[in-house]
């Protein structure tokens, strides 16, 4: 069945991991699909597509948001950071490093959402208690780990950040967030 009216395409440019990315997409293109299909950054995972599971969480100007609950066209005025912007295999960010050390993942499907969420959380709360770490990840679902190792990973990431000194975080969440957390600009 074909659409009765051809769908209008919009020129959309979104800054992703400091690189402007352009595509012609329909207005209904979710940011999560824009990142995966149009930009080709498949690190952002798509789970429930209604905001419950947290797998698609990306940073919008440094603050975590659900990429499945935002249209690409609305994201144009903002800086997006995906899991690809948090570090590389050779130079992992502190949260990625901690998840590796503490076995904070098994299948890895939910992991990109945890990494972005925790990265932003530690900018504002550099020394969480175990209870706070648990609360910080309450909006992300994981069906493998039972969360115990993820909580450990959050606490370990805080240690790694603290040992690296102020301003040595991922740098992904921007100057404003670092300033608000009392750190120096990366």
């Amino acid at each position: 069945m074909s659409d009765p009216v051809p769908e209008e395409l919009l020129d959309v440019t979104v800054t992703v991991n400091d690189v402007p990315r352009h595509a012609r997409v329909p207005a209904r293109r979710l940011l999560s699909d824009f990142l995966r299909h149009d930009v080709g950054l498949t690190g952002t995972h798509v789970g429930c597509e209604h905001g419950v599971c947290g797998a698609c969480t990306v940073l919008l100007d440094g603050a975590p948001v659900r990429a499945c609950l935002m249209f690409a066209v609305t994201a144009q005025a903002h800086r997006i950071t995906t899991v690809e912007g948090l570090g590389t295999v050779e130079a992992m960010g502190p949260v990625q490093q901690a998840f590796t050390e503490c076995h904070g993942l098994q299948c890895g499907f939910c992991t990109p959402g945890f990494l972005t969420t925790v990265t932003a959380y530690l900018e504002d709360h550099p020394h969480p208690t175990p209870d706070e770490a648990r609360e910080a990840i309450s909006g992300n679902l994981c069906r493998c780990t039972g969360y115990q190792n993820i909580v450990k990973s959050v606490l370990r990431a805080a240690e790694i950040r603290a040992a690296a000194g102020p301003g040595a975080g991922s740098g992904a969440t921007g100057d404003a967030a670092a300033d608000a957390a009392g750190g120096s600009a990366p």
């Binding site: 209604h50 603050a63 659900r66 249209f71 609305t74 005025a77 504002d124 309450s138 909006g139 606490l155």
Partner: protein
């Protein structure tokens, strides 16, 4: 799960937004934070032909504390209002309740005015507007008007906003130095839809209770306030038997069964939370009059990095 096609409109001013809303009529929907609307679109529970995206409209992102109210613009995200210290000092209930609105990540995007315009009786912010007898400021082709909350909420997800009108702000009136507040809710997981939630405001004058009001989350058809003063008037705040309000509360509730809880369980829970929040609001009122300002509870502080090293 993808939304059906729609035409995207990106007005830059309130006047432009109203004009577009007038042109598209019932086929249009306002997009602000989208944290309730976009799931509905993704699941195709709704498929409006036009979305009027107000994220680029200037002048809607301010929180202002005036002599008699906290005014919140239509683009103020929950997280922004939650962190606003002047708003907390003026109406501590706002921060107390915002902590329960979904998960922090959702609060980074969702707007307080959008949550009220969505008019979900399972939403926390409609309950706060009802408890504080707040007002919705509306812009339309016939100019601006103000809608008191009891005329605004008509039913579940139903308001008196016309299709060509835009809610540009809400005002939460200040409750005064003699009125304490409290909020509590229970959910299967913190941040999920509440099984039941209760907001309470208790006024203490000359050492006795002079007013007691409640509003509810997830256990009524329409967001609204319930006055229970008659059951407790004139009693000393620390000696009130709050269960005297039970008949009024039970009469007000219209809970429903679902997979999470039975209607009877929700009613029992709401009545119990009413006792707890009324007692806490009364203690809050007493503390306010002792001159200590709003009772600053440690857990209500925001964004203050902890002292000391990382916890192991």
């Amino acid at each position: 799960m993808k939304p059906a096609p729609f035409v995207h409109h990106a007005p830059r001013t309130v006047e432009e937004a109203v004009e577009v809303l007038g042109q598209v009529g019932h086929d249009g929907k306002v997009l602000a934070g989208g944290q309730s609307l976009i799931p509905i679109l993704n699941m195709r529970l709704a498929s409006p032909g036009h979305l009027v995206d107000i994220n680029g409209v200037a002048g809607l992102d301010e929180v202002a504390v005036t002599a008699d109210a906290v005014r919140v613009g239509a683009l103020v995200r929950h997280a922004r209002l939650e962190r606003d210290d002047p708003a907390y000092a003026a109406t501590p209930l706002l921060r107390r309740v915002l902590r329960h609105v979904a998960h922090p990540v959702i609060r980074n995007r969702g707007t307080t005015v959008g949550s009220i315009a969505h008019a979900d009786p399972a939403g926390e912010m409609p309950a706060v507007l009802a408890l504080t007898e707040g007002v919705v400021e509306v812009a339309g082709p016939r100019g601006r008007r103000e809608i008191p909350c009891h005329d605004f909420f008509l039913g579940a997800l139903e308001t008196s906003l016309a299709p060509d009108e835009l809610a540009v702000a809400v005002r939460f009136p200040l409750l005064g130095a003699h009125t304490g507040t409290a909020f509590a809710e229970r959910a299967r997981r913190h941040g999920d839809y509440a099984l039941a939630g209760v907001a309470a405001a208790v006024t203490v004058d000359d050492g006795v209770v002079s007013s007691a009001r409640l509003s509810f989350v997830s256990v009524t058809d329409v967001p609204g306030a319930l006055d229970v003063t008659e059951a407790v008037r004139g009693q000393e705040p620390d000696e009130v038997d709050w269960s005297a309000c039970d008949d009024l509360v039970r009469g007000h509730l219209a809970p429903e069964d679902d997979i999470h809880a039975t209607a009877e369980y929700r009613a029992m829970l709401a009545a119990r939370l009413a006792h707890l929040t009324l007692a806490e609001a009364a203690a809050d009122a007493v503390a306010l009059q002792a001159g200590s300002g709003p009772r600053h509870r440690e857990h209500e502080a925001v964004g203050v990095p902890r002292e000391g090293g990382p916890a192991a």
